[in-house]
C-alpha cells in the first residue's frame, strides 16, 4: 500500500516541557479521506505543523508523498493544501489579492492563476465579497477563503484543521459536501473532534489521545470494536401498539426489547443470533402492528461510542501505556491501541 503520510516515532516536546506529540506512528494511505480524531490538546494541530515544517520534531521523522518534512522542505509544502483552524489571513488584502499572492507563492503562471482564483471564489460562494477586505470577513467567510486558498494549486494532499469549527449549519453542510466532492483522486486529512463529521465523510480514521495515536485504521475496523449490538427503532403510532410490539419482540429467541420513551424501541440481539435475521423478524412484527417506522439506528455504527471507548481504554491502560520495546510503525495501522 502506498502512503501519502508516514511518520515514525514522531515526537514534539515544547520548550515549556509540554509533550504535544508522543512517539506517533501515523500512516495515511494515498487517496484516503482520513479523519484525525482527538480531544482538544491531543496534538492534532501540532502534527499538522510538523508535517508542514512549521515546527521541528524533537525526535522521529515524517514523510509526505515520499519527501521528508522540515522547515526548508518547500517541495513538500508545494504538494499540500493547508487550512488552519479559524485561519488568520492578511486583513489588509481582498480575497482576489490574497489568492493571487498565494498563486504566486506556488509559482503558478498568470494564465493559470487568474481563471483559477475566479472559479474558486465562485465555488466557495465568495464572489459577492471580492471587493471586501479580509479583516471584515466573518468566521465562516474566512474559513471559505481558507478552503479556496488550500485549493489554489490543486494539491494532491489536503490538510484541513477543524474545517467546520465555528460554522453555521448551512456552511458546515457546504464544507462536508465539498470534502466529498474533492475526495476522489486526492488524499484528505481532516483533524476534528466533531465525530459526526468524521462519520459522514471519512473512510480511514486515527484517534489521538495525549499526543499518542491510540488507533489508526479504517472506519470499518473502528466501528467493529464496539461491544454493543443495539438497534434503536423510532416508531410512530398509538403508544399501546408500540407497547405490545415491545412485548412481542421480547418473546423472540435471543432478542431483548426495551422501550425508551414512548416511541423508541431498543432491541438488543444476543451474540449467538444473526443480527439481520433478528432485525427482519422485529420489522415484520412492526409491519403487522401497523406501526410506521420513522428511523432506525444501529449502536454498532455509533462512531462516538467507539471513539469514547478507545479513549477510556487508553486511560485505563495507565502505566501499561509505557512501552519499553521500540514500537514498529505498523503497530498503529493494524487497528490496535498501544498495549
Amino acid at each position: 500500500m502506498e502512503f501519502a503520510i508516514r511518520t515514525e516515532h514522531l515526537t514534539k516536546i515544547y520548550a515549556s516541557r509540554l509533550i504535544a506529540v508522543n512517539d506517533m506512528a501515523l500512516e495515511v494511505p494515498k487517496g484516503a479521506t482520513f479523519g484525525l480524531l482527538g480531544p482538544n490538546g491531543a496534538g492534532k494541530t501540532t502534527t499538522f505543523r510538523l508535517l508542514l515544517g512549521l515546527q521541528r520534531p524533537t525526535a522521529g521523522r515524517a514523510e509526505v508523498l515520499g519527501q521528508t518534512c522540515g522547515p526548508n522542505a518547500v517541495g513538500v509544502r508545494r504538494r499540500i493544501g493547508y487550512l488552519p483552524t479559524n485561519p488568520k489571513l492578511p486583513g489588509n488584502l481582498r480575497p482576489t489579492e490574497y489568492l493571487d499572492l498565494l498563486g504566486q507563492l506556488y509559482r503558478l503562471p498568470h494564465s493559470v492563476r487568474k481563471p483559477r482564483l475566479a472559479s474558486l471564489l465562485r465555488a466557495v460562494g465568495l464572489l459577492d465579497a471580492t471587493d471586501q477586505r479580509i479583516d471584515t470577513f466573518s468566521t465562516g467567510m474566512s474559513t471559505r477563503l481558507g478552503i479556496a486558498a488550500s485549493l489554489i494549486a490543486d494539491p494532491p494532499l489536503l490538510l484541513w484543521d477543524e474545517p467546520t469549527a465555528g460554522l453555521d449549519p448551512a456552511a458546515r453542510r457546504f464544507t462536508l459536501d465539498l470534502i466529498r466532492q474533492l475526495g476522489p483522486g486526492r488524499t484528505i486529512v481532516i483533524a476534528t473532534h466533531i465525530l459526526s463529521d468524521i462519520d459522514q465523510i471519512c473512510d480511514h480514521v486515527g484517534v489521538m489521545h495525549e499526543g499518542r495515536m491510540v488507533f489508526c485504521g479504517s472506519m470499518h475496523d473502528m466501528k467493529r470494536r464496539l461491544r454493543c449490538d443495539d438497534f434503536h427503532l423510532d416508531l410512530d403510532g398509538p403508544p399501546e401498539q408500540i407497547d405490545r410490539l415491545a412485548r412481542q419482540t421480547g418473546e423472540l429467541e435471543g432478542v431483548e426489547a426495551q422501550l425508551r420513551g414512548s416511541h423508541t424501541l431498543v432491541v438488543r440481539v444476543a451474540e449467538k443470533r444473526g443480527r439481520a435475521e433478528a432485525l427482519a423478524e422485529v420489522l415484520t412484527l412492526a409491519a403487522g402492528a401497523d406501526l410506521s417506522l420513522q428511523a432506525i439506528h444501529s449502536g454498532r455504527n455509533d462512531t462516538e461510542n467507539a471513539y469514547l471507548q478507545l479513549l477510556q481504554e487508553d486511560i485505563a491502560h495507565g502505566f501499561h501505556r509505557f512501552d519499553l520495546a521500540v514500537r514498529q510503525p505498523d503497530d498503529a495501522v493494524r487497528g490496535n491501541p498501544a498495549p
Binding site: Y14, R49, L52, L54, Q55, R56, P71, N72, V74, G75, R77, R78, I80, Y82, P84, P87, K88, L89, P90, G91, N92, L93, Y98, L101, L102, Q104, L105, Y106, R107
Partner: protein, 285 residues
C-alpha cells in the same frame, strides 16, 4: 517568484500602515520646519547635517527599529504561519523579502524627506550660503546615514526574532541604542557614533570626489589596518595612541574615513541579518 510576491505584498502592507504614513508626514513637516528656521543664517553643509540629524540621533530611530521588529514578532507571527509560511516559501526567502521591504520603505521616507530640501538649499540663492557642497560629498553623507538606518532595521529584525514579543524587543532596543554614543565612546570607537557622524556630515558634504590626484581611490590596506587596530584597541581596552588632534577635540572631522564607516556599520549589519536568518530557520511557528 515567491520573493518578489512577498516583497510586493509587504511593501503594500507597509504603505497601508498608519505608522509609515504618519512617519512620512511627520518627517516631511520636520524637514520643512528645519529648512525654514535655518534658511537665512545657516550654511548649506550645516543645514544638511540638521536635516539628517532626526534620522541619526533622535527621534526617527525609534520608528525605524519598530518597523524592523514587526514582521517576525507578536500577533503577526500567527498570520505569518497560517497565511504564508505554510505555503511553498523558504524561510530565508520570506526573511530576505521582508527585510528588503523595510529597508526600501525606510530609505524612501529618508530620501523623500531630506533630498528635496537639500537640493533646494544647495541650489537656491540664500543670504547664508557661503560654503560649497559637492554632489559627491552630499551623496556620501546621505550614504552614511543610510548605512546607519540599515543597521537599525537589521537590529530590529534580529531582536524581533530573538525575543518574539514586540514590546520586549522595543525595550531592549531602546536600552541598546539610546546610549550608543556613550557605549562607542567607552570602547574608543567614537568616530562610529551617530552623534559623531552627524557632526561629520558638514565636512563630508563639502568633500569632492578626489581631493588630490595622488590619493588612491577606494578602500586601501591602510583603511583595513586602521579599522583592525580600532577594534583591537576597543576589545582589549587599550588606550589609543597619542594623536596630534583627538577626534572629538578636532571639530573639522577631516579624518573621517568613509570606508571605515562603511565597514564599521556594514559588518554588524551583515552579522545581525545572518544571526536573524539562523534563528528564524530554527524557530517553531
Amino acid at each position: 517568484m515567491p520573493f518578489v510576491a512577498i516583497l510586493r505584498h509587504d511593501l503594500r502592507g507597509l504603505w497601508d500602515s498608519r505608522l509609515v504614513r504618519l512617519w512620512l508626514v511627520a518627517a516631511l513637516l520636520l524637514a520643512l520646519v528645519i529648512t525654514a528656521a535655518h534658511w537665512g543664517q545657516t550654511p548649506t553643509a550645516i543645514l544638511i547635517a540638521w536635516l539628517v540629524a532626526p534620522f541619526l540621533v533622535f527621534p526617527w530611530f525609534l520608528v525605524v527599529m519598530v518597523l524592523g521588529i514587526n514582521p517576525v514578532s507578536g500577533s503577526r507571527a500567527d498570520s505569518l504561519a497560517d497565511g504564508l509560511l505554510s505555503r511553498p516559501v523558504a524561510r530565508h526567502e520570506y526573511l530576505a523579502a521582508t527585510w528588503l521591504a523595510r529597508v526600501l520603505v525606510v530609505l524612501a521616507v529618508f530620501l523623500t524627506s531630506t533630498l528635496p530640501p537639500i537640493v533646494l538649499v544647495a541650489l537656491a540663492e540664500r543670504p547664508a550660503a557661503t560654503d560649497t557642497v559637492a554632489p559627491y560629498g552630499v551623496t556620501a553623507g546621505l550614504g552614511v546615514v543610510a548605512l546607519v538606518l540599515l543597521l537599525q532595521v537589521s537590529l530590529g529584525f534580529m531582536f524581533g526574532t530573538l525575543l518574539r514579543r514586540l514590546l520586549s524587543a522595543v525595550v531592549v532596543l531602546l536600552f541598546l541604542w539610546y546610549p550608543i554614543n556613550y557605549t562607542l565612546d567607552f570602547f574608543r570607537l567614537e568616530q562610529f557614533s551617530p552623534v559623531s557622524l552627524c557632526r561629520a556630515v558638514p565636512e563630508l558634504a563639502q568633500r569632492p570626489w578626489r581631493e588630490r590626484d595622488d590619493l588612491p581611490s577606494g578602500v586601501t590596506g591602510d583603511d583595513f589596518e586602521e579599522l583592525g587596530q580600532l577594534f583591537v584597541r576597543a576589545l582589549t581596552f587599550q588606550k589609543p595612541k597619542p594623536q596630534p588632534k583627538p577626534f572629538f577635540e578636532s571639530d573639522e572631522f577631516r579624518d573621517v574615513s568613509l570606508w571605515q564607516v562603511a565597514l564599521g556599520y556594514g559588518v554588524p549589519t551583515l552579522l545581525a541579518v545572518a544571526l536573524t536568518a539562523f534563528c528564524f530557520s530554527r524557530r517553531d511557528l
